[in-house]
Amino acid sequence: MNMHAKPQRTHAETALIDGFVERFSDLPGNEAVIRRRDDAVERLKAGLPTRRVEAWHYTDLRRLLATVPAYDPTASARPLPALLQGSTVLPVLNGVAAHAPRIEGVSVVGLEQKLADGSIAPAMTSRDAADVIAPLNAAFVTDGWFLDIADGAAVDGPIELQNVQAGGQVHVRFPVRVGAGARATIVERQSGSGDALVSSVSHMTVGEGADITWVILQEQPVGATHFGQFNAVLAKDAKLTLFVMNTGGKLVRQEIKVDAKGEGAVFNLRGVNLLNGDSHTDVTMVLDHSAPNTTSSEIIRNVVTGRARGVFQGQIRVDRLAQKTDAKMACNTLLLSDEGEFSAKPELEIFADDVACGHGATVTEIDRSHLFYLMARGVPEKQARGLLVRAFVAEVIEGLEDEALVAALEAKLEAWFARNG
């Protein structure tokens, strides 16, 4: 007889497992997909991670995920106006991919179809024992979009993947293959109106010499729980610029896993976390430099107000083959309230001997001498503080090459400060 003292399941754990039993017959997928779903639920049965699991040390999921809403078949969501002019919008509305517009050079397939024919099943795996988001998503995923960008395609205008929830549970997936030499800007919108539990998993392979800008804009309402996972593998000389902006949600974890697998691959991560209220927001990155002459830089800027808590974990692993790796990581936080907090955990694991790697993390308040300078020019204190806080974040946004994107993200920034300034 097994005498392990298994802790009692939490409400959330029970709701997830019972929810699967209820939902099972309505979830799309052939036999291969069903097997993956079954494996995934087995993983969930092991329980949600606590702070004793290193990857979840600052986000004690078992404690923080207090309740799990039931799937709501009556909820209906509407598409949002695109972030950028000239975008092709691919909406998923409360877990249902609406229609597939044509995009020159891109094959677009609704994910439900790939679940039905089982072609997505091999990708429905988990990264490791600490992975919760992938199995949660694999168990419940209903829809999403699969994009295949042709070799050499220069996609005209941004593609916007919209995941809009209206409550209950939403689990979507965006697998993307980028052909050699292709260029595209992809915006991933995570938004909605309900207190939903959302998981969204993206897998991307970036072909040789391709150049991709991917923007994750997470603006969930104050009661929503959002779990995002972004996975990318970069081939030789591929370049990926990933911009992540979190401005909402109650409990948010955005995982980023990138493998610079081909020689000369370049990865740039820019992150902005605007945190308020009682929220908990965690951005966790694992970056592998697996080939020589690969380059990466990460800059994360956080603004913490109210009783918000933020986390950035950045792990950079340099393989012994990855000589001449150049990796730089910085995480800077502006703490605007005594009750807010931010935890930063940079980690470098370097097995090659000829590399340039560095990291830094700071937590500061507004610089008083900067404030005095602005006030000495007649700018009232409140306005001067606002200007300095926005400037702290805007610096990261302004580093992006696309001017329309800079303007759109700055507008989001202004809107957040108008609500929370």
């Binding site: 900067h370 300078y373 602005l374 000495a376 020019r377 007649g378 204190e381 001067a384 926005r390 400037a391």
Partner: protein, 251 residues
């Protein structure tokens, strides 16, 4: 314009007294030079006038056009017409110079109950003022003072001063870090602002600046007090004989 009476002030954090019974009167349209050896309290005086809260006034009064400014914060003082040109202008990453000029100008106009400047009017004003200071408009797109040379920073200060049109200009060591050509440009910019209803307090360590900005009065500051006042010949006298004689007289 400005009347300082028996001013005592100390560093808020340490309690060290820096200004010890300072008296100074500056009339409308007057250019008053403040000179003195290092550590005499010159820069501290400029910060106190602008309202920096690292310093605490413990005694005395500062009257600006008859009104006490001690209860006003730096923004209120600026809006009332006091301008400090910083010895070391601060670099503010993420705030474009042009945007900053717009915000500062409009904040002051708003505080005075005037309508905001329209963008074309603002651009025209800035362009004219920048031209007079040999400043490139491209520089104004860059973040405020970030990567500016010492001379560019000082010019940017004078640009702000000419746009904000203050009543009392306090120039803290505006000559420091400038070569002679840059000094002439900056001094021309300052001289262009001389007006019967505008006064200036020019703080400097060296007489050199006063060849270009000719003062009406010269005051020697030592250990936090004005120990001697005179006309511009006093500055020349200091240049030739140093501070020792005057300090000796005062002691």
């Amino acid at each position: 314009m400005l009347e300082i009476r028996n001013l005592h002030a100390r560093i808020a954090e340490t309690g060290t007294e820096i200004i010890r019974g300072l008296d100074l009167t500056v009339r409308d349209g007057e250019v008053a030079a403040i000179m003195g050896p290092n550590g005499s309290g010159k820069s501290t005086l400029s910060y106190i006038l602008a309202g920096r809260d690292d310093y605490e006034v413990t005694e005395g009064e500062i009257l600006f056009n008859g009104q006490s400014i001690l209860g006003m914060d730096p923004a209120e003082r600026a809006a009332s017409g006091i301008f400090l040109a910083f010895q070391y202008p601060l670099e503010i990453p993420g705030v474009a110079t042009m945007e900053f000029l717009k915000v500062a100008l409009n904040a002051q106009r708003k505080a005075r109950g005037e309508p905001e400047l329209k963008i074309p009017d603002l651009l025209r004003k800035v362009k004219e003022a920048a031209g007079r200071l040999n400043m490139d408009m491209a520089m104004l797109k860059r973040p405020l003072n970030v990567g500016f040379s010492g001379g560019e920073k000082k010019r940017a200060e004078i640009l702000q001063m000419s746009l904000l049109e203050p009543k009392l200009c306090v120039l803290d060591e505006t000559d420091s870090g400038l070569d002679i050509d840059a000094l002439k440009v900056v001094a021309d910019g300052v001289n262009a602002l001389r007006a019967p209803d505008r006064s200036m307090v020019v703080i400097t360590h060296y007489q050199r600046l006063l060849d270009y900005i000719v003062p009406d009065t010269v005051h020697v500051l030592y250990k936090g007090r004005v120990i001697k006042s005179g006309d511009k010949s006093l500055a020349l006298d200091l240049e030739q004989n140093g501070y020792a004689d005057i300090i000796g007289e005062a002691a």
